[in-house]
């Protein structure tokens, strides 16, 4: 095992593209910064994505989860806008009732009167593949169908994927899924084809309020820090970033978020860890075992060749 393998599967990694064999002059790592504080929940991102990537409609289901009838990211849904309805106390801006986000029928507010000290807050957030620095989906892919692009993003290749599905459970965010029609794995490509032409990904281009911002990751991270500071100054103390930190369990996300509540509220895992983090340790044992097997097989050949 090379000494940097640990780096390759978890922990900070400044340039995943270079690590994936791209020459130093490869493009800057690009990604999304989704500022949910300005998301109006219009779902233009969902539609623009499907229109560009020619993804089919995947279910006319009224979910009852506020205005979210998409439900989840999936093989045919690469952008998903979550809607979270809350009652909050405007003086402390804390939630009055903590329940599953927008799930089921809300209870009547206790003695709710007009002018009461509770207000409604409606959070909206457009979720997407995180394009992890350490992407377990890619690491477990046995066919090389998933690869790291020159932009630092993680992309599936239809023509290579054999549909084994290992990537699906490997994703700590539950993003990647199998398309029923083709049987192949499928998820956001960050519009790999558009990036090649210098175009903005379809979702970010459509977004009316610049909630979805596309750009070099370093710039986005800087902009995001400033935005959080600005919101804090405005009294929105609950604003925080999610997925921006290279020291987190996936080495930082290529698509990160500004949230106004805990990640769980939006249906995001609070502390995602790349599922292949322990792979090197496992592989050490596996390699030893494989060596023994190889020796045995070689011995068989040697013995039987005569």
């Amino acid at each position: 095992m090379s000494p940097d393998t640990g780096n390759r599967l978890s922990g900070p990694l400044p340039d995943p593209s270079q690590e994936a064999g791209y020459p130093p002059e490869h493009p800057q790592r690009s990604g999304f910064f989704t500022d949910t504080s300005v998301c109006i929940g219009c779902k233009a991102c969902e539609v623009a994505c499907k229109e560009w990537n020619l993804l089919p409609e995947d279910g006319l289901n009224l979910t009852g989860m506020s205005y979210d009838n998409t439900g989840d990211l999936g093989a045919d849904t690469w952008r998903h806008v979550a809607f979270v309805e809350q009652r909050i106390d405007p003086s402390t801006r804390s939630r009055v009732d903590i329940g599953m986000p927008g799930m089921g029928a809300p209870e009547p507010a206790p003695q709710q009167e007009a002018g009461d000290a509770t207000e409604v807050r409606w959070l909206m957030s457009s979720d997407v593949c995180k394009h992890c620095t350490h992407a377990a989906c890619l690491d477990v892919c046995p066919t090389g169908a998933l690869f790291r692009s020159e932009h630092g993003t993680v992309v599936v290749q239809d023509d290579v994927c054999n549909g084994c599905g290992y990537c699906v459970p490997a994703c700590p965010y539950g993003v990647i899924d199998m398309r029923p029609d083709t049987g192949g794995a499928s998820k956001c490509t960050l519009c790999q084809d558009r990036l090649g032409e210098g175009m903005t990904p379809a979702c970010a281009k459509a977004c009316p309020t610049e909630s979805i911002q596309y750009g070099p990751l370093d710039e986005l991270r800087e902009r995001a820090e400033q935005r959080v500071e600005q919101l804090h100054e405005q009294g929105v103390t609950e604003a925080r970033l999610y997925g921006h930190d290279p020291r987190d369990g996936v080495g930082g996300d290529g698509a990160f978020f500004l949230l106004l509540d805990d990640p769980e509220v939006y249906g995001l895992p609070p502390d995602p860890v790349v599922t292949t983090r322990d792979l090197p340790a496992m592989a050490k044992y596996a390699a030893a075992a494989a060596g023994a097997v190889a020796a045995t097989i070689a011995g068989c050949f040697l013995g039987g060749g005569r």
Binding site: K43, P56, L60, G64, E85, P108, E113, V120, L123
Partner: protein, 891 residues
Amino acid sequence: MAEAHPVGFQWVMEAKRRGAKIIHVDPRFTRTSAMADAFVPLRAGSDVAFLGGLINHVLSGEHYFRDYVVNYTNAPMIVGEEFVDTEDLDGLFSGFAEGGYDTTSWHYEGSRVNASAGERDRWDELFGEQGPEHPSGRETPTGGPERAGSGGPVYRGIPETDPTLNHPRCVFQILKRHFARYTPEFVEQACGVEPGRFREVAEALVANSGPERTSAFAYAVGWTHHTLGVQYIRAASILQLLLGNIGRPGGGILALRGHASIQGSTDIPTLFDLLPGYIPMPQAHRNLNLDTFVAADSAAKGYWGNMRSYLVSLLKAWWGEHATADNDFCFDRLPRLTGDHGNFRTVMDQIDGKVRGYFVIGENPAVGTANSHQQRMGLANLDWLVVRDLNMIETATFWKDGPEVENGETRPEDIGTEVFFLPAAAHTEKDGTFTNTQRMLQWHHKAVEPEHDQRSDLWFYYHLGMRIRSKLRERQGERTAEQRERDRQLLELTWDYPTEGEIVEPDAAAVLREINGTDAADTALTAYTQLRSDGSTRCGCWIYCGVYAEEVNQAARRKPGAEQSWTALEWGWAWPANRRIIYNRASADPEGNPWSARKAYVWWDPEQGCWTGHDVPDFDAGKPPDHEPDPEASGPEALRGSEPFVMQSDGRAWLYAPTGLLDGPLPAHYEPQESPLSNAFYGVQRNPARQVYPRPENPYHPSGTETGSAVFPYVFTTFRLTEHHTAGGMSRWLPHLSELAPAMFVELSPELAAERQLRHLGWATVITARAAIEARVLITQRMMPLRVGGTTLHQIGIPWHWGPNGLTTGDAANELLGVALDPNVHIMETKAGTCDVRPGRRPHGADLRRLIDDYRSRAGITERTGVDPVEGTPHPRSDADGHGEGRANDE
């Protein structure tokens, strides 16, 4: 705005980013509320009370922009002694009789007001044709204040004024007295907005208005779809004028219109009461001719004084060399109106067998219009129907699978309507302009050819005209003299447009050029000031004159916004004269200097001797601010250099409308046609001048304290979702939109759900006297019960996108609505009604009928319910009012 105009909302977010405070006032907590700094839930149908409260706050607290108000509005005008306000008549203005107003008592002292905003037809006064049974000040119920922004009413003479604003009968003092009643406490009673929250809004608005700052109001049909919709807008106008927020950057009352060219189809009106450019359609009168038609305008101040030029140029555009001074430029060929010919009236006439043929073009009334059942009854009683659309909408299939067929009320065999469905071309398949909600024309280029039988509407009408003309031409020999006479207006119509391509598509640019207008040498005109009344110019729509200036399609200009100033005058073309903010002379003070450096927009440049600035000045460019007109002058020349409202007959904006409105010179709070509450402000319950149509298929609910009102205890309001468009014709057929909002639903509060045992995602049936519809239940804390008048009031939100056809289907919200109209513009009330709601799906067939009948009988509904012009319970007066007499509400 975030819901229905998300991309426009980016500018609100931009403003917020720069520190603007966003306040959202709505019955429902929407995606707009989620982004607002403050959300104020209020009862649907109570906005005049709310706005009136704000007006009162501004007046009583002396927060108005005095220099603006004194110089640019009619605040100093003195009203005649005959005027009596609602304060003294418990909710009526003077002049009310027989369900309508005689408006003569509203006039200024010392002036004769000459016409209404919509109906420039001052026949009686000028020519005395009609007898005393038609009071001379009576407004005719046609035309419309929708012309505001382009046109205005006319009066003659110079009214008395008091620039100190102290005269007890000056507009300012009348306003003060009228709105004194609109206290925060009254606002709370009517709107359910508690006084603290109301004051927060009032103070924020006042703090953000004045020379240094401006505030803007944005609204959509939540304000116009009411029996007093025009007065909602009037209330906002008064408020914004008092604060000096009109004609200035960052100000205004911005209508967010909902269709790509709904502004254009009002400017070039497919509307019964207007000709292009807001010229009224003529009314039937004896001795009507061009001279008498324009007589009322000819002596007026302002740009309407040139109406003869606009009209003659239009007639020349239509009848070319056949229109001459000798034949009144073919004025006689214009058909004459006799009253209301609006769509609701027309549909009732269809039911009554008076209309035989019907074209429905890109519209879906079978589910998209209030009281859809009534609309379908009309469709089912035609000889022939032409439907042109992209998809097979409900209006085309009503005879096959409409609710009446589904319920067994009728069978296709029983419906005699012959139906032609013609597939339409999409915007990508034709050239043309849309006029957006900012009055900006933008050209869209044809990208691909339409397929098979798909054609543009331009193609259809051009070829239909050609076909009709050629048939008539061939048959002239067999036609009677009378027929030949009426055929001439068709055969002599200018209809020779160049065509192109295999499908013989008429050239849209040539049509736009005709709209723009040409001079005697057939050169495109550059401005409407070039139009002449002698027949030497042609112009299809005077306010669009200039869109083809220099023989260039100005609407097709697409100079990148980033390469221009912030007003982006080289992108598209805005009427009039490419101005982006109208009445922008008001952005400068009377001396011509910006009110503040921060809000500079257009100003007088004394060195150059002209008006200049960031926009095209909406003023005679060379007229200095201190210009005093010749007393004998008329038209634009009669305007002072300090009078910015150049379309108005006095150059001023009207806080008080001495003429032009059918239901009062000032807004007053009336309850919607159907309301669970009594009017907290006046004894008069509903807008006394509203239009109602008591018919078997259009019964109304009792309101307030009327017997049976409790049978429909809840308020409902219809709304749009981001994910769909209007009645769904352009969204319910699309998979990527349908999956985002995949089922008809209603949204209501947890409290109401508990009261009616409704289950989240379960079914509910919503019932009115017209219909019962079913929908899935979305229980949400965004719907909040209000405390109104001492009781808890529940509101239900009902989206109106669904119908039986398409990928996502459901009952149509419009089934629930009755038809009750604003009298000025004949727009129906869809935004506030009453209903009941119960768990479970609706019944079908005869059981459905029985359910509705049961409700009708429990509520005691008859054909007279809710139709009296004036009804309600007189309110005891407080001592301070001191008026005990003069009520006129007990008839």
